[in-house]
C-alpha cells in the first residue's frame, strides 16, 4: 500500500504548485491551527500584497471559511472508536495566481447528506443577490435576535464572504453512506 506514497505526494505537490498555492493543509484542524495559519497568511500577504483593503478581505474570508470547517465538519479523527478526544477533519488551500491577479481560498469538509439541500439553497440564494441586496441581508441578519438553529456563529458567515469576494463557488461530492464532502472556493 505504501509503495506509491512518495510518487503521489510529488504528484499532489506539483498539482498544488500549478495553482500557485501559498499553503495547503489537509487533516485535523484545531482553533490553534486556524490562528496560526491566519498569522502565516498575514505574513505572506505582507510580502505580496500592497493593498491593505485587499489584504483584509483575504484574511476575513479565510477566517470565516476555516471557522466553518472547524465548526461544522462531520468527519472526525480518530475515525472509529469511542474516543473522548477527537478532531475535526478538513482541507484548506490558499493561493495567489499572479497572471490573473487573483487570490483563491478553498476550504472543504464533510457534511451530513441530509444537510446538502439546506446548504445548497443557502449558498444559491446568497449567490443570486447583488451588492445592495447582500448589504441589506447582512444588516437584517445582524439585527435578528434569534440565532440560527444549529449555527455556532451569527449566521452571517456566507453573507460576509459573499460581500468580500468577486466570485464564489462550491461543489458537493458523495463521500460515504451518510456523508458528503462540501468544498467551497472564494476568489478575491
Amino acid at each position: 500500500m505504501l509503495e506509491n506514497l512518495l510518487d503521489e505526494v510529488c504528484d499532489i505537490k506539483s498539482r498544488f504548485d500549478s495553482y500557485e498555492t501559498i499553503f495547503s493543509f489537509n487533516g485535523t484542524i484545531t482553533y490553534e491551527l486556524l490562528t496560526n495559519l491566519g498569522a502565516l497568511l498575514r505574513q505572506n500577504l505582507d510580502a505580496i500584497e500592497k493593498n491593505q483593503t485587499r489584504k483584509s478581505k483575504v484574511f476575513i474570508v479565510f477566517i470565516e471559511e476555516l471557522q466553518n470547517v472547524l465548526f461544522y465538519s462531520k468527519e472526525k479523527y480518530p475515525k472509529t472508536g469511542d474516543n473522548e478526544l477527537y478532531f475535526n477533519l478538513g482541507i484548506v488551500l490558499v493561493g495567489y495566481i499572479n497572471d490573473i491577479d487573483k487570490y483563491f481560498i478553498v476550504c472543504g469538509n464533510a457534511i451530513d447528506k441530509e444537510d446538502v439541500k439546506k446548504i445548497e439553497s443557502k449558498i444559491e440564494s446568497i449567490k443570486s443577490l447583488d451588492t445592495e441586496e447582500l448589504k441589506s441581508m447582512y444588516k437584517q441578519k445582524r439585527r435578528e435576535k434569534n440565532r440560527d438553529k444549529g449555527s455556532k456563529g451569527a449566521g452571517l458567515g456566507f453573507i460576509e464572504i459573499a460581500r468580500k469576494t468577486t466570485e464564489m463557488d462550491y461543489k458537493i461530492f458523495n463521500l460515504k453512506d451518510d456523508l458528503s464532502f462540501f468544498v467551497f472556493e472564494a476568489i478575491i
Binding site: 482553533y31 490562528t35 498569522a39 493593498n51 491593505q52 483593503t53 483584509s56 478581505k57 484574511f59 476575513i60 477566517i63 470565516e64 471557522q67 448589504k135 447582512y138 444588516k139 445582524r142 439585527r143 440565532r147 455556532k152 456563529g153 451569527a154 452571517l156 458567515g157 453573507i159 460576509e160 468580500k164
Partner: protein
C-alpha cells in the same frame, strides 16, 4: 422604607460594579470600561473560539452599567479594531443596541470608530453601524495603524 431599600440596593450595585479590564490576546480584544469617566474602549482583534462565551461577561457588565447610569451622562465608546469576525459583528451590534437604548433615554453617547486609513473594510463596517444607530453619534476616525 421601600425607598431606603431601593436606594441602598442602588448604592450597593454601583459600589460593586467595578471597572472592567480584560487583557488582549491574539484572538480577543483589549477591553477597558472605565466607570468614573464613562469611557469604554475595545481595541485589537476579535475572533474568539467561542464568541458568545467571550462576550457574555462583557454584555452582563454593560447591562448593570446601563441600569445604574445617570440619564444625563456623557459616554464615549472608543473602538480601535483591526479585525473582527462575523459573529463578533453580531455582538458589536448588540452592544451598540444597548447604547442606543441608553441614548434614547437622554444620555449623550459618542462612538469613536478608529480605522486604519489604508483599510476600507474597517471603515465600511463603521459606516454601516452608523447607519443602523441614529441615536449614537458616530465619529469615523482615520488613523495610521502600526
Amino acid at each position: 422604607m421601600i425607598y431606603l431599600f431601593l436606594f441602598l440596593k442602588l448604592l450597593f450595585r454601583r459600589k460593586y460594579l467595578k471597572n472592567l479590564v480584560i487583557k488582549a490576546t491574539e484572538k480577543t480584544p483589549y477591553i477597558d470600561f472605565d466607570l468614573k469617566h464613562n469611557i469604554l474602549k475595545i481595541k485589537g482583534q476579535s475572533y474568539p473560539e467561542d464568541t458568545f462565551k467571550f462576550y457574555t461577561p462583557i454584555l452582563t457588565w454593560l447591562n448593570s452599567y446601563k441600569k445604574n447610569l445617570n440619564k444625563n451622562s456623557e459616554i464615549l465608546v472608543k473602538l480601535e479594531i483591526i479585525y473582527f469576525n462575523s459573529s463578533t459583528a453580531k455582538v458589536l451590534f448588540d452592544i451598540f443596541d444597548m447604547f442606543e437604548d441608553i441614548a434614547k433615554t437622554g444620555a449623550k453617547v459618542t462612538v469613536s470608530w478608529l480605522y486604519d486609513e489604508e483599510d476600507e473594510t474597517i471603515k465600511e463596517y463603521g459606516e454601516e453601524f452608523a447607519e443602523d444607530f441614529i441615536y449614537l453619534s458616530f465619529n469615523l476616525v482615520s488613523s495610521k495603524f502600526a
